[in-house]
Amino acid sequence: MSTRRYLISKVLQALLTLVFVLAFNFFLFRGVGDPVTQLLRGHAGITRQSVEQLQRQLGLDLPLPQQFVHYVKETLEGHLGYSYFYNLPVSQVIAGRIWPTVLLIGLSTLASTALGIWIGIRQGWRRGSRYDQGMLGFTLFTYSMPEFWFGLLVIMAFAVGVGPFPALFPTGGYESTGAGYTGFAHVVDVVNHMMLPFFVLTLSYLGQYSLIMRSSLLETLGEDFIVTARAKGVRENRVLYGHAVPNALLPTMTVTILELGFVLSGVITIELIFNWPGLGLLTATAVDARDFPVLQGLFLLFSGSVIVANLVADLLYSYLDPRVRAG
């Protein structure tokens, strides 16, 4: 398959998946019941006329397929409906919450990938050593731990304080309310608030990256070109960093991107317990308030970003490893 055909087929597949997600999202939330009744919940003086007018406005008087087309059109134009809870357009509610989540996920993913890769290399290179065994145990433990419970422990230890030890960090939030910090002081304030959720997320996902890097390195070390490199007298250090690691990095990098869906899941509970005003906290409050339009919008955003991440991983892999395109 030529490169171009490979790329086109990947992009088409991603688009098809996006259409599926749109349809899924549309029909799933139709199962909740009539949107008009929900919108008018708790409003006095509802007449049949106003109901019908609202139905027309929302396009609910049309047959289902037409409604779906309408929904797709609206979504593509960025209209995601109206939040019952915030009394604002959903797109506006979501837009206000994206930045904190991107900041938190981005930084913690960078940290846990870098650390995880470094640990995984050391583990794979000295397979079976005490370090390797210890890290495997640690990995299994963090894997088995619900992130939110770890977060609660961290809050008790570092934000509330244990015994004689004072609280080191704020218990939650994005910044000190009412402090009115600007410029550098504001940055310091935000970093101070982000420290604990960042720490929890980084440690929670560290193990997964180190595990992938370790097994990927082990697999590469068994390849013929490693034997060749050693046979021709390449120094051990160079065998590792010149021959093995670059090849072993490939799967790790793509998996990192594919992990996005799972990191998104973890961020929901972590943002809730640290009161971090991002998309995760928004999800948790929308669940509590049964704010379906917001949930629908968030679900679309989450699935959409996972699809895009998948596509990026595919394209990156084919660019970095030409064997994929050929196959």
Partner: protein, 322 residues
């Protein structure tokens, strides 16, 4: 939720061909097959016993199963009811009478955790059963029949694989309303795609094996081929996969319950944590209310994961060779 640590390499069924011949040669093919499988199971168990990690997992799990079954003997169910006379003072740190302290309603945290074992384990096991049935069926049909069935089913699987697990589970649970059965259904219905892929890959390699082709040439029906030749050989893989999925299911249950989507009447470990967080326990320093249920989750999930990895080590010939 987190990715399921399913092995990407298909497991090979335990080779049954070269086992010492039984003392009295069995007569029917059925008896031969049964004897071989029994011997294979014995051999796996012998190997498994040597695996320290696997045995540790098995012991921890056994402990929790014991607690789940004998919960009524270990703690009176009355202790779950705030109006019960056995409740003590509110938010009391651990004492002799209440080894893990009490919650904001005066209930013993130990009693809550013991009874939570039942709910968490039940949800984990039943939802895993749903996952395995859906995943295995789809994987078998796609792998065995191939052609358009495979295209349609695998495309569908890929689509569901893309949907981020927790947001999907949250949306479904919110739409269906909080209940014990909702949680089971939601976890079961959202976690099958990975299983379907693993099973399909294994079936694809199995169906081209000579013995399957021979049986087909002898005129065996699809049903016979699938139930007698394919399914028994995917068995070990399904087993190892199941163990790992239970771990994920229990974690998912705790997360959903923590977000308030669990059944308020059936206290699971996640529900206890939700209550403690809602009452501000971590911020008030009520550590005895937060640590036990979480530790229980970690231990059970850890035990399932350790057993799963040990089984993978033994049943996966690729890992063994290395």
């Amino acid at each position: 939720m987190r990715p399921q640590p399913t092995s990407t390499e298909p497991l090979a069924a335990a080779p049954a061909a070269h086992i010492e011949a039984p003392k009295e040669p069995p007569r029917t093919p059925k008896q031969i097959a049964r004897a071989r499988r029994k011997a294979a199971a014995k051999r796996v168990w012998r190997e498994y016993r040597k695996n320290k990690m696997g045995m540790a997992g098995l012991i921890i799990l056994g402990l929790f199963i014991f607690v789940a079954i004998f919960a009524p003997l270990l703690a009176s169910s009355c202790g779950l009811d705030p109006t019960c006379p056995s409740t003590g003072p509110q938010l009391q740190p651990p004492t002799l009478k209440y080894p893990l302290g009490t919650d904001d309603l005066g209930r013993s945290v130990l009693t809550l955790t013991i009874w939570g074992t039942r709910i968490s384990m039940t949800v984990g096991l039943v939802s895993t059963a749903i996952t395995m049935v859906i995943g295995t069926t789809i994987g078998l049909i796609a792998g065995y029949y191939g052609a358009w069935r495979e295209t349609v089913l695998m495309r569908m699987t890929d689509w569901f694989l893309v949907l981020p697990f927790l947001p999907l589970a949250i949306v479904l649970a919110t739409l269906l309303g909080p209940s014990f059965y909702t949680v089971i259904f939601v976890i079961g219905i959202t976690s099958w795609p990975a299983t379907a892929r693993v099973i399909r890959a294994q079936v694809l390699s199995l169906k081209t094996r000579p013995y399957v082709e021979r049986a087909r040439a002898l005129g065996a029906s699809d049903w016979h081929l699938v139930t007698r030749h394919i399914l028994p050989n995917v068995g070990p893989l399904i087993f190892a996969n199941t163990v790992l999925i239970v771990a994920v299911a229990i974690l998912s249950e705790s997360t959903l319950s923590f977000l308030g989507l669990g059944d308020p009447l059936h206290t699971s470990w996640g529900t206890i944590l939700e209550n403690s967080f809602g009452a501000g326990a971590p911020f008030a320093g009520n550590w005895w209310w937060v640590i036990p249920p979480g530790l229980a989750i970690v231990l059970v999930v850890l035990s399932f994961t350790m057993i799963g990895y040990a089984l993978d080590d033994i049943l996966n010939p690729k890992l063994r060779a290395r």
